[in-house]
Amino acid sequence: MFILDHLWIIIALPLLGAAINGLLGKNFSKPIVNSVGIGSIALAFLSFAELVREFTQLPAEQIPWVKTYFTWITAGQFKVDFSLQVDQLTIIMLGVVTFVSLLVHIYSTGYMAHEEGYYRFFSYLNLFVFFMLTLVLAANVVLMFVGWEGVGLCSYLLVGFWFLKQSAISAGKKAFITTRIGDFGFTIGILLLFWTFKSVDFGTIFKQLIGAQPDALISTSVLTTICLLLFVGAVGKSAQLPLYVWLPDAMEGPTPVSALIHAATMVTAGVYMVARMNPLFSRAPIAMFVVALIGALTAFYAATIGLVQTDIKKVLAYSTVSQLGYMFLGLGVGAYASGVFHLMTHAFFKGLLFLSAGSVIHAMGGDQEMPHMGGLRTKIPITFWCMFIATFAIAGIPGFAGFFSKDEILEAARASNPFLWALGLIGAGFTSFYMFRLIFLTFFGEPRYDEHKVHVHESPYNMTVPLIFLAILSTVGGWAAAPHLVGGTDYFEKFLHPVFAMYAPAGVEGPPEAVEAPGTMLFHALTGWPVIIALAGLLIAWWFYIKSPQTPKKLAESLRGPYTLVLHKYYVDELYNAVIIQPLLWISTNVLWHVVDEGVIDGTVNGVARVSRDTGSELREIQSGNARSYATWVVIGAVGVTVLMLGLWGMVR
């Protein structure tokens, strides 16, 4: 019971690592920075393993396990404890975060080896893990918000890691400011949550929902408002429509950062938050539908942009936005476990894709443009095979992780709303197409780079070993939930079941059990639409980029209008620029700056100064230094006083 009683150790370790590297790292040699950075995460991972062992021995009625360490804020009714909690959902998230971040740390020792500010990078990365674990372990909304903002800060710091590059600085700012719009909604949601439930603890809030009448104090409309506000936060953090614009730009950061923060962990915080708040969302059908709709639209929309991108990391970025959309689609149609399952498998295969892409970029000497690559398959075989597996996983080819998770989500969506299902299905086809397009453009065909200039080489072991680990998980990770599809028990869903059933609304006993006979399920799963459409995507990509490479060009020319539209990402950045940024800039410049700041604020300050100065310069004339003029004033004064006295005396008399 050691770790269960001392949960703080798990989050303290990365913080310690960040502090040591951040404050003292400048004078450390690389091995010391490495051992502090990786060691702290490795210890956190070991603590997590011990936690799992202790957690499995915990009686079911003690879950969720909440541990309060001290009271953080008290103000009247408002009371926030520093309290951490563990339940099945936390275990899943902790596992993903600690494991993926451990691999990314190891990978970074190779990828960042020649960079300036090596210690700074590791310090930020550790700090990120600290905040992410705080977010995941928090037992109340406010502490969760601390982690939420903290990961946003680390994202900003790491996207702008190369702070001498203008585009990196702008991307960092964009990421920070865009998510702040979402956080505005999230903050109001937290306040409304406290106002309604008089508490910010998850347990206290959820207990009040049990048995509450829909028309009682906690009305459905209030719940819907809370859920929608919280979802606004998730939309910002998890890069959904319409706030997704920051994520593709965030690719300016180093690739390990993209893998860890912008694919595997931070961007899934919104998904985690919605899953954590499932008792609220389950009671707000409208909010649920909004979540599902936004998710499905994003999944489809981002996939279309991914079709035509040429920057290898941009393709993956839009793919991430799209996959996050699937997670929200899963949550929105009530299949929380499937959404979280996709979160987990996505962390593996998308982390792997980004790390492989990093390895490719490393091999190409920094070039990220796919049209400059080609034929890398034989040059960097380990990277190729890992990325190939990840592509199979994300495309939903049967047997790989993404197949199980995406199929579950689409199944749930079909049961809920055919329109959402159709969007998700077409998006899945696009996903398959753009991912195989990436593979074919990068690894197949003739080399399109100058072989005399670019010395293509396989990455060192500290980069390839994490790839192999993730490739294994991308392959077998899906089988945790697999038996569901072949008619058995879905272990993953069964494990998570208590989290989503404990406070489920009356009449809904958690996710429904599979009812179909094993044989039909297997048949259904293998011949179902998702597989057909994934294979279609694969075949079309093969046709376009291997069989007849002229086809894409011809197609682009015959569909010039739509092609240009998608290539420029639907001009959303330009639209936001014209509709929001330019007016804001205009108001800031012409009203806030030239009128309010210069006119009112500076005017007041300068006005006070000018009045004082003018009065002073007038009054200065009196103090002439001429003794006789002083005497004159004395006389005038004396006469005045005398007259006054006489006048008063006269009046009294």
Partner: protein, 102 residues
């Protein structure tokens, strides 16, 4: 022997004081200004004496002696300053002694 009314003394005192003020304000020569001050002091002395006599009290007389003593001391110091000033600036015109003026 008829008693001169006190108002005569006071009017004379006021006239002398007024002359002193006018001289103080309009004259430029320091010596003249100094004399104007003496004139004002003595105008006040006259008023004191007149009141003392009218009220048959000695307080006014005591004040007068004080004023005379202080005025004597002041004359001594003042004249010394004026002499030094003249040695340094070769002028007695008060408008040219303006070193400390802003």
């Amino acid at each position: 022997m008829s008693i001169v009314p006190i108002s005569y003394y006071l009017v004379l005192s006021a006239i002398l004081f007024g002359l002193g003020i006018v001289a103080f304000v309009f004259k430029r020569n320091i010596i003249t200004i100094f004399m104007a001050i003496e004139l004002m002091l003595n105008a006040v002395n006259l008023a004191f004496v007149a009141f003392a006599r009218a009220h048959n009290q000695l307080d006014g007389l005591v004040f007068v002696f004080f004023v005379i003593v202080v005025a004597a001391a002041e004359s001594a110091v003042g004249l010394a300053i004026i002499i030094t000033l003249y040695q340094n600036r070769q002028t007695l015109n008060i408008e040219r002694i303006n070193l400390l003026k802003f």
